[in-house]
């Protein structure tokens, strides 16, 4: 008995002493902060951070190899505690979230009947799965089994549904999915993503020049989640209130539902959800990446500049916008009249963008006069984006067009209106041009008191590039269309004041490159109409005179017909740190195209600043939304089955002929009601590449 006790005591003493000595002799200095950081982590040893256990993760955080938010399970709270231990700012670290990118599920047709192991990876081994669609979800839920947090389930429609609150962004589902459908991304990753031919995207989304995820936001509207719908739009388009009013919606031309009845009123739905967010005044938080320390100068506060500033800020860069006019918005402030896009609405969009914080604005300064590239570089900017727009007018090639009193370019006419000092027109006004700018001049003239307004156009009404709704609105407002005419001469009185215009009638000849028949003037068909004012609205050019001055940095910029030449993908110019987008980078286009180009330019600048590869993936999807070409093969159908005719909701508008409509600048087109919006959202078939929801 005594021996046993002695033995145990001796053994304990020896072991204790040995271990004590060992811990001194073999002492490894360990940063005491590692233990403190370790306490802030989840302690689950789940490995989601990519390190072997919480101890290794804590060591990596203290060593600076991992960010304070490395522990995805502990989340933002944990990150804050860790940051407190390390005496650092946690910053608004961006949350990783999982997103399912396929909405096929049960509705997707199958090539064969699969009877094997109930697992996506196993099913994938057999001819890449049974689904007809090469990139579609197989629906066995490997991602669901991989998720340790119960944030995923196979929903009622047969594809995985993410429960955002539970998702910690560990990436297990993405690893488990053999088809790359589950994608765990930060908001900035999503901003930087450009449509690829390998993506699962509906025809409307392929067509939208800004690449907005249309089926997703419409689905949110369907479920009454208007704020989510708005956030979805904001990931691609920071001016939803404005585009919701003036966009000619090429997406709707690609809408598959048009094959059965009418396309979904996509743009009205966007307008509805963004109006809802504006009116409800909900303070939705838009995620911004932690500061990168870079500063970008945006020259020109038009739509492309605003879009780029918004996305650059969201990617973590500081931005300063330089604008030569007193207000931001560029062509959509000074070019689009109040009755189409009220200034207060546009400013609601702009204030949302500026509300991100970290975007400075300086108005009333002109590039090439008050500042130039040298002063921007000297001022500490790391990159410059030129979005100076196209504010000069193109010539109509009518003799003396810049001398005759009463002739005015559309840019000047609309800008004066935007500045609150309208150009006073007489009783009879003529406008040449068939684009949206011409329509704006026509309808503004009506509101400025003109009794007779003519639209002169060299082809026919059906050839006009203006939005159909705009042309119809002009007709509602009593504007006369004089088509197939080529003005040749101004008729003036003794004082040189305009009294009329002479034109030749045209006939249509051979189709030109754009597929439209080119007009040919008929000799001896001279006709005269009496007018007091004539507005030139046949196109705009960029004022890039600063590039012609010798000896300046800007002279290294290449220009072509006024436009600043850039790489169409990266938006980089001949000067590596100068980028350009919007109207000044090519032929003037749609607002939504300028918004899309702004995001691409932001991507180019971000990649340039971060030293990453700027070129697009070879899989880049390039759709020509004007000619409706370049869609992913097999996604544009000739006919669809299983859809009942329902008809789209109409566009509510001010009563034609009413006082408000003819004599005030009250907004003409109105926002649809909530009831109509949900009804219209339910018409959306939630298409993907090949499958869509049929009516049951």
């Amino acid at each position: 008995m005594l021996e046993a006790l002695l033995l145990m005591m001796g053994l304990g003493a020896v072991s204790g002493v040995l271990l004590g000595i060992a811990s001194k002799v073999f002492y490894v200095w360990e940063d005491p902060r590692i233990a403190l950081v370790s306490d802030c982590l989840a302690g689950a040893n789940c490995g989601g951070c990519g390190y072997t256990g919480c101890g290794a993760c804590a060591a990596a955080i203290v060593a600076g190899e991992a960010g304070v938010g490395a522990c995805i399970v502990a989340g933002a709270d944990g990150a804050e505690k860790v940051a407190a231990v390390l005496g650092m700012e946690a910053g608004a670290a961006e949350a990783l979230t999982s997103m399912n990118t396929c909405t096929g599920g049960f509705r997707a047709s199958e090539k064969f009947s699969y009877m094997g192991v109930n697992d996506c990876r196993a099913a994938y081994l057999l001819y890449a799965g049974a689904k007809d669609c090469d990139v579609g979800c197989l629906g066995f839920g490997s991602c669901v089994k991989a998720c340790l947090f119960g944030a995923l389930e196979i929903g009622s429609e047969g594809y995985p549904v993410v429960e955002a609150e539970k998702c910690v962004g560990c990436g297990a589902c993405e690893k488990a999915c053999p088809k790359g459908i589950m994608q765990v991304r930060k908001p900035s990753d999503r901003i930087l993503h450009m449509n690829l031919v390998t993506d699962r995207i509906a025809p409307c989304r392929q067509t939208c020049p800004a690449e907005v995820n249309i089926p997703k936001y419409i689905n949110h509207i369907k479920r009454g989640e208007y704020d989510e719908a708005w956030l979805t739009v904001m990931e691609r388009n920071p001016l939803p209130l404005s585009t919701g009013r003036v966009c000619p919606h090429p997406c709707e031309d690609a809408c598959r539902r048009a094959l059965a009845d009418d396309p979904v009123s996509i743009n009205q739905l966007k307008r509805f959800c963004s109006d809802w967010v504006m009116n409800e005044g909900t303070s939705l938080k838009i995620p911004v990446a932690p500061d990168t320390g870079y500063r970008v100068a945006v020259v020109g506060g038009g739509p492309s500049g605003l879009s780029a500033a918004f996305y650059l800020r969201r990617l973590g860069h500081k931005v300063k916008i330089f604008e030569w006019l007193p207000k931001l918005g560029g062509m959509i402030y000074y070019g689009i009249p109040e009755y189409r896009l009220p200034k207060a609405i546009l400013y609601a969009d702009i204030n949302r963008i500026l509300g991100l914080g970290g975007i400075e604005v300086k108005t009333g300064v002109e590039f090439g006069v008050d500042f130039d590239l040298e002063s921007l570089v000297g001022g500490g900017f790391d990159a410059v984006l030129m979005t100076i727009g196209a504010m000069n007018h193109a010539s109509a090639r009518i003799p003396d067009e810049d001398k005759v009193e009463g002739v005015v370019p559309a840019t000047v006419f609309l800008r004066k209106q935007g500045l609150g000092d309208p150009y006073l027109v007489g009783k009879r006004v003529g406008v040449i041009g068939g684009g949206n700018v011409a329509m704006d001049c026509l309808r503004s003239s009506v509101r400025l008191g003109a009794e007779k307004v003519y639209c002169l156009y060299r082809r026919e009404v059906k050839d006009m590039p203006a939005n159909k709704v705009e042309i119809e609105a002009c007709q509602h407002e009593g504007i006369e269309f004089v088509t197939l005419c080529s003005p040749t001469r101004f008729i003036t009185d003794d004082e040189g004041k305009l009294t009329g215009i002479e034109y030749l009638k045209n006939e249509l000849g051979e189709p030109d490159a754009s597929g439209r028949q080119s007009p040919v003037a008929i000799d001896g068909s001279e006709t005269v109409i009496d007018i007091d004012n004539f507005i030139l609205a046949i196109g705009q050019t960029t004022n890039s005179a600063f590039a012609d001055e010798e000896g300046t940095a800007a002279s290294r910029l290449e220009t072509s017909r006024g436009a600043i030449v850039n790489n169409a993908d990266t938006h980089q110019t001949a000067i590596p740190y100068v980028f350009t987008s919007g109207d000044c980078a090519g032929p003037p286009g749609l607002l939504v195209a300028a918004v899309g180009a702004g995001r691409r330019a932001a991507r180019g600048i971000h990649k340039y600043l971060m030293g990453e590869d700027m070129a697009f993936s070879p899989d880049r999807l390039r759709v020509d939304s004007r000619r409706m070409k370049g869609h992913i093969a097999g996604t544009i159908f000739d006919s669809i089955e299983g859809i009942q005719r329902k008809g789209r909701i109409g566009q509510p508008e001010l009563e034609p002929g009413s006082y408000e409509r003819q004599h005030t600048y009250a907004e003409v087109d109105l926002t649809v009601t909530e009831e109509d919006a949900v009804k219209e959202a339910n018409r959306c078939m939630r298409c993907c590449l090949t499958c869509y929801n049929q009516d049951t």
């Binding site: 021996e3 046993a4 033995l7 145990m8 053994l11 304990g12 072991s15 040995l18 271990l19 060992a22 811990s23 073999f26 002492y27 490894v28 040893n45 072997t52 256990g53 290794a56 192991v117 109930n118 697992d119 990876r121 196993a122 490997s142 089994k145």
Partner: protein
Amino acid sequence: MSDYILLAVSAILVNNILLIQYLGNCPFLGTSKSMDNAVGMSMAVVFVLAMAGIVTWTMEAVFLGPIGLQYMRTIVFIVVIAALVQFVEIFMKKSMPGLYAGLGIFLPLITTNCAVMGVCLINIKEEYNFLEMLVSSFAYAAGFGLALILFAGLRERIIIGRVPGPLQDVSIALVTAGFMSLSFLGFKGMI
């Protein structure tokens, strides 16, 4: 020489510590969900068993046997193995950081695991000499690794299989372990 080979075959297959003697079931079920963990665990067991075998055999030969305190064997071995593993961990952290990073998280898991304890006791019970004890310790550890790695391979496939709800996870793992055990029983009578 043939004795040693027989001893090794017996320890690895015929008397497999996991599937025939049913010792060390906790790590068998706990670390067999992924192949990476199974391999790490197996390496750690080989390492610890070899060390523990030597120390406990020496303990028995030098103290317990001569003093006549064999009845204290179990408790003494527990203390000795626990202290040993702790010491090894401290030592490795300083001197072999690479090995520590690989085995680090598994070492404390098997501090006084029943498989380790069991092999040490078997070594004494069978009255092995030092060399036999060494072969036996390595071979039992190898058998442990073999069974664990085979089982992890099976479980990785079972996870993606169509398992009825009530049988999922540990239940089906135990059923599978039972079948593996049955098949290992086929080695009985080999020696």
